[in-house]
Amino acid sequence: MSQPKNPGEASVREVQWAAWMRAGLDGDGEAYRLLLDALAPVLRRIARQGLRQAGAGNAEAEDVVQEVLLAVHLKRHTWMRDQPFSPWLNAIARYKLIDVLRRRGRRGEVPIDDLIEVLPDQSVQAEASPRELEKLVDRLQGREHDIVTAISLEGKSVRDAAAKWSMSEGAVRVALYRGLKRLAQLYRGDEPA
């Protein structure tokens, strides 16, 4: 997954991640795996950038990625389902990156506060995006629209959605993935130049 070029793409990604995380918390190992797979390259980029800024080289980047993934897993209950996912992920990535740098005794070399300044913080972006997102979601059709709205925007669980439309949970998940995929396509196919 590449660096989001604009807030629209970031918000599609945000919705996708949040949906996978919710499903993962509800016990869906497959969705959870998709999430961790999607996070790894993003975390790798954050780790490399952070290490470079700390003058530490790329050798430890994979350690940082694994530490963050492990922390995401062990602290997954601290993400609040009604909150954006990226700021939570960023905070954990930053904390673990700083932790690794501190442990290697580089604290004297690098002013950690400066590092905190330069590490990406998407909280502002993520909070500004929902309206734009709703517009995109409104262009989905039928059940896909209903399910993406219910689960991704309103934060309902897969189980609730399944009960509401008398579908199996598996069918809801499939519709959700299709809807989110379509959302990403809609966004890319419709660049405002």
């Binding site: 190992g29 795996r33 961790l36 797979d37 993934l69 997954r76 939570w88």
Partner: protein, 212 residues
């Protein structure tokens, strides 16, 4: 270990996620208040003239300010304990209790002649106050830390300090029912020192216990 292997292992972990930090915090506050209540009745008990005192404004104010402190610290702690809130400034709600206290202090100094200030300030048992507020606050602080330890605060010292403030507030609510010194002059000094001590203790414990 390769990152892909790690991901496979994590995705295969079927342990259900722990309760959310908010739920843990509620439990800790409820348990802490209960523990402080029991300690209060075992060690201190209400002052003998409790029923008459409850009709005086100074006595009631001690509960108002300590409950305001506990409630605002609770709100601030709920925010500080979230990983993504580490970079945000402290919650402004923390200003409520100090503002109440300062207002009461001004009113007291207007209502009481300056010659009486010293007596009201020293009170009868300031040493008692400074010992028992922390004692009543210890169990709440321990329970709060148990909850926070399972969370993911990215600002351990600050989060620990707010937990100390909350524990001190809970302790002060109960101690206020025993204490016969009701003047805001007394409360603003000795209660503040005792609660400040708990805040410092919380910060120290936070630095050690809340890293993950």
């Amino acid at each position: 270990m390769k990152t892909d292997d790690l991901i496979s292992a994590l995705a295969a972990d079927e342990t259900p996620p722990a309760p959310t930090p908010r739920r843990m915090l509620w439990r800790a506050v409820a348990g802490g208040a209960l523990a402080a209540c029991i300690a209060f009745f075992v060690l201190l008990g209400p002052r003998p003239d409790f029923m008459q005192a409850i009709e005086t404004v100074r006595f009631v104010f001690k509960f108002v300010v300590s409950l305001a402190l506990a409630a605002s610290a609770f709100v601030a702690l709920r925010r500080a304990m979230r990983p993504e809130m580490g970079a945000r400034p402290l919650h402004a709600v923390l200003l409520v209790a100090p503002a109440l206290l300062i207002a009461a202090l001004v009113l007291e100094m207007l209502a009481v002649p300056a010659s009486d200030w010293a007596a009201r300030w020293i009170g009868h048992n300031w040493l008692y106050c400074m010992s028992f507020i922390p004692i009543l606050s210890l169990a709440p602080l321990a329970l709060l830390f148990f909850a926070l330890h399972r969370g993911a605060s990215t600002t351990p010292v600050r989060t620990g300090a707010i937990a100390g403030l909350l524990a001190g507030g809970i302790g002060a609510v109960f101690y206020a029912a025993h204490c016969t010194d009701d003047s805001p002059l007394f409360v603003a000094t000795w209660y503040t020192i005792a609660i400040g001590f708990m805040t410092g203790l919380g910060a120290l414990c936070g630095a050690r216990l809340l890293r993950w």
